[in-house]
């Protein structure tokens, strides 16, 4: 195998005295879709945010395609252009139109021409199915549409990988599907994806590998067909049982 897309080596992270990541080792290969699941407070979002250094790790290393992003001398801004990020709260720029949301970083960071940036923006909007919203302001879009624009914004930088931080958790249930559809298509196109999610169904269908975290450590990982059906550890079994119960009680009203 070649150079991994993301390689996490013995990562520790403290918030004050609280140790939230207790030695994480973990690899994402190019083209791989990895879903990170686990109870809230398990450190999975923190791990994801350490990968593009929105959160500074306390010790350990994170290697992005061979470049150490945790190195104090690393050009973090440049490395981040290779790593797309999609947030739980979308975080679109509310003072800019959809088009400008997609072109501003292309213009200012990649120094693309206005014409080229616009072409790229149109192309990625097409991939998320929102070309007709190009001149709208984010506030005029539904949550699902905003999140799709956020995915398009990440794509507009032509990243080698995209990190998803609970991308559907802030959405109304009926809007989750359209975002998962876009993510499914991306995965099908071979995008490298690290997805922190509660959507077990999505993980089962799309992920190449599922990583289960609890209490700041990776408890278990495996291919979804094995891990989700027959987890080896008690903690994973317990968590999956809990999540399934929740999703069943969620879906009951809609089943006739």
């Amino acid at each position: 195998m070649g150079v991994p897309a993301i390689q996490v080596i013995d990562l520790h992270k403290y918030f004050g005295k609280l140790e939230v990541l207790k030695g994480i080792d973990f690899v994402v290969q190019p083209g791989e879709v990895v879903c990170v699941i686990g109870p809230s407070g398990s450190g999975k979002s923190t791990l994801l945010r350490c990968v593009n250094r929105l959160e500074e790790s306390t010790s350990g290393r994170i290697i992005i395609e061979g470049d150490d992003i945790t190195d104090p001398d690393a050009d973090v801004d440049k490395l981040r252009t290779r790593i797309g990020m999609v947030f739980q709260q979308f975080n679109l720029f509310p003072h800019l139109t959809v088009l400008r949301n997609l072109t501003i970083a292309q213009r200012k960071v990649l120094k693309r021409s206005e014409t080229e940036a616009r072409e790229v923006a149109t192309a990625v909007l097409e991939r998320v199915g929102l070309t007709d919203k190009i001149d709208e302001f984010p506030i005029r879009l539904s949550g699902g549409q905003q999140q799709r624009v956020a995915i398009a914004r990440a794509l507009s930088m032509n990243p080698d990988m995209i990190l998803f931080d609970e991308p559907t958790s802030a959405l109304d249930p009926e809007l989750v599907g359209e975002v998962l559809d876009v993510m499914r298509t991306l995965a099908g196109d071979g995008m490298t994806m690290m997805v922190v999610t509660h959507e077990i169904g999505f993980a089962k269908e799309v992920a190449d590998r599922v990583v289960f975290m609890d209490d700041g450590v990776v408890v278990e990982e495996g291919v979804p067909a094995e891990f989700l059906v027959n987890p080896k550890t008690d903690r994973a079994r317990q968590f999956l049982r809990m999540v399934r119960q929740e999703s069943e009680s969620d879906s009951q009203p809609s089943t006739p």
């Binding site: 593009n52 929105l54 801004d77 440049k78 981040r80 252009t81 790593i83 797309g84 990020m85 947030f87 709260q89 975080n91 679109l92 720029f93 509310p94 003072h95 501003i104 970083a105 200012k108 960071v109 990649l110 956020a150 914004r153 990440a154 930088m157």
Partner: protein, 263 residues
């Protein structure tokens, strides 16, 4: 004597009305109205003030205000960013600067820059006829604006900075293109208030020695009072100030109402 609560309120109200009425009547009888009107509103003096009161004095007030506001805005933004900086020396400098110029009376700052500085620096003056006055009110305004702008920047959700950084922008780019434009929308109403305060503070510049060319409204009014031995000019100048500040105050009200609705 037991009064009900309602009766008590009504009794109090009528007492207040009665006393006020007595005061008004008393004033109306005792005051020499023609003399008062002659002193405060001598109609034949008014044409003498025009057009200079507008073409010179009001114009100068507006020049001092806009120069001062521009200086205050730029300096205030720099100070706000320094206050939020990771570098401790910047934070310390900005905090001290803000403490000093919010703590000093504006009049003293004006005297400091307009009178004390030339003496201290062996006759060197801040250049420009409008220079010392504008700079002084600008510095005072910057100290207040810095805190307003800082609050505005901090009111922009953290996710905005994170999203901007995640697409590869530097801290400076993220501030300039994403955070500050949103912060400025938030601070438009309080900044308009700063503008009004600044406009009124320009009257303090009248303490500096001025040429006829740089007289602003207050100085113009004062000099006219002295030369005409009549108080009418102050009233006229006051009305001109109000003509500028009241519409702005109303505008702030509108802006605040609109901001509240957008939320």
């Amino acid at each position: 004597m037991a009064l009900t609560r309602r009766q008590r309120i009504r009794a109090t109200r009528w007492t207040v009305y009665g006393l006020s009425f007595a005061l008004v009547i008393g004033a109306a009888v005792t005051v020499d109205w023609p003399a008062l009107a002659g002193a405060l509103f001598k109609v034949d003096l008014i044409p003498e003030m025009f057009p200079a009161v507008l073409t010179q004095a009001a114009k100068n007030t507006l020049i001092f205000t806009s120069l001062g506001f521009s200086i205050g805005l730029v300096l205030g933004l720099v100070l706000a960013l320094m206050r939020l900086s990771k570098v401790r020396a910047y934070r310390w400098f900005a905090a001290t600067f803000i403490d000093i110029f919010r703590g000093l009376p504006a009049l003293l700052t004006i005297l400091l820059l307009g009178l004390a500085l030339p003496i201290a620096l062996g006759g060197w003056r801040i250049p420009g006829v409008y220079g010392p006055g504008s700079l002084a009110v600008g510095i005072v305004a910057s100290a207040y604006m810095a805190e307003t702008i800082r609050a505005g920047i901090q009111a922009v959700p953290r996710g905005q900075m994170e999203a901007a950084r995640s697409v590869g922008m530097t801290y400076t780019q993220a501030m300039v293109f994403i955070v500050i434009p949103q912060a400025f929308r938030i601070v438009i109403p309080p900044m308009t208030n700063e503008f009004i305060l600044l406009l009124k503070d320009t009257s303090l510049i009248s303490v500096l020695g001025v040429t006829a060319q740089t007289k602003e409204l207050t100085r113009f009014g004062r000099d006219f009072v002295i030369s005409s031995a009549n108080a009418t000019p102050i009233v006229i100048v006051g009305l001109i100030y109000l003509a500028m500040t009241i519409p702005l105050t109303r505008l702030v009200g509108q802006l605040e109402k609109r901001a509240a609705r957008a939320r």
